[in-house]
Symmetry: C2
Subunit: 140 residues, 2 copies
Amino acid sequence: MNQLFDRLQNELKKKNINLSYQRLKVLEYLTQNQCHPTVEQIYTDLEKEISTLSKTTVYNTLKKMVSEGLVRIITIEDNETRYDINTHDHGHFKCEICKNIFDFDINMDLVLTKGLERFKILDRNVYFKGICPGCLSNSK
Amino acid sequence: MNQLFDRLQNELKKKNINLSYQRLKVLEYLTQNQCHPTVEQIYTDLEKEISTLSKTTVYNTLKKMVSEGLVRIITIEDNETRYDINTHDHGHFKCEICKNIFDFDINMDLVLTKGLERFKILDRNVYFKGICPGCLSNSK
DNA sequence: GTTCCTGCAAAAGCTTTGCAGAAGA
DNA sequence: TCTTCTGCAAAGCTTTTGCAGGAAC
């Protein structure tokens, strides 16, 4: 299908995780919709195609994939959990009007971290909030 | 009491917000415990002193203060909302072992934001996760 | 046949809402 | 008096858990 998808399929085999139809579909959804969807979004869209799909399965699948390091949780708003299959470091910008999330390139090495010399850093997150160009021009 | 507390008290008067005993105590707690507590932590500690305190009041107060810009929500983990009275830009480091949150200085202007030229940035957040020096030395 | 996976239903946990009484201006 | 604040109880949401049936190996 595509490069990322093949890579994930291989990774699953290596980790001895069964690739059920539901799991395949969730991963496929994440690779094709890199908009950092919530469980609700994933479930609602997949349910159209897999009418028997349970939200529990979406939760189960995502939990499994996060614990295996194939999927990342991104936390921007405290009341919604979003999932991200793109593992390279990037920042997230959430528009407070249209609620969309935009990725932006970021060089984490440039982030000055005075005072963290003795800390072991495992995960770096940068997220900004504000108004995107589209909503800015609409409000004029 | 202290500089920050006096400043907040003045700000409340300017914004015509009543400074009830409960609100005063929540703000006092936030200034004295800059560990970014959750509602649960604030409530549990204050309830010892104010036995009639309701968790709803803690929620109400924090919501009011956030909307007035006196308190900031910091989102690190998706399942917990933490509150911060320190408004100057700084990064947060959460230790995955002891769960404590450490502040670190950060110069947001140095964060490279290629691709955000046309965005209006209102809020910048940086949080890292990993292991703090204390837990690192304990595990040796 | 044993293990893992799915999905319904119920439970759990956090936050918000409705409302009545109390406090403050 | 009129508005705002408090706090109980109930509701609302998201996520987790228990469990039984089904699929995979």
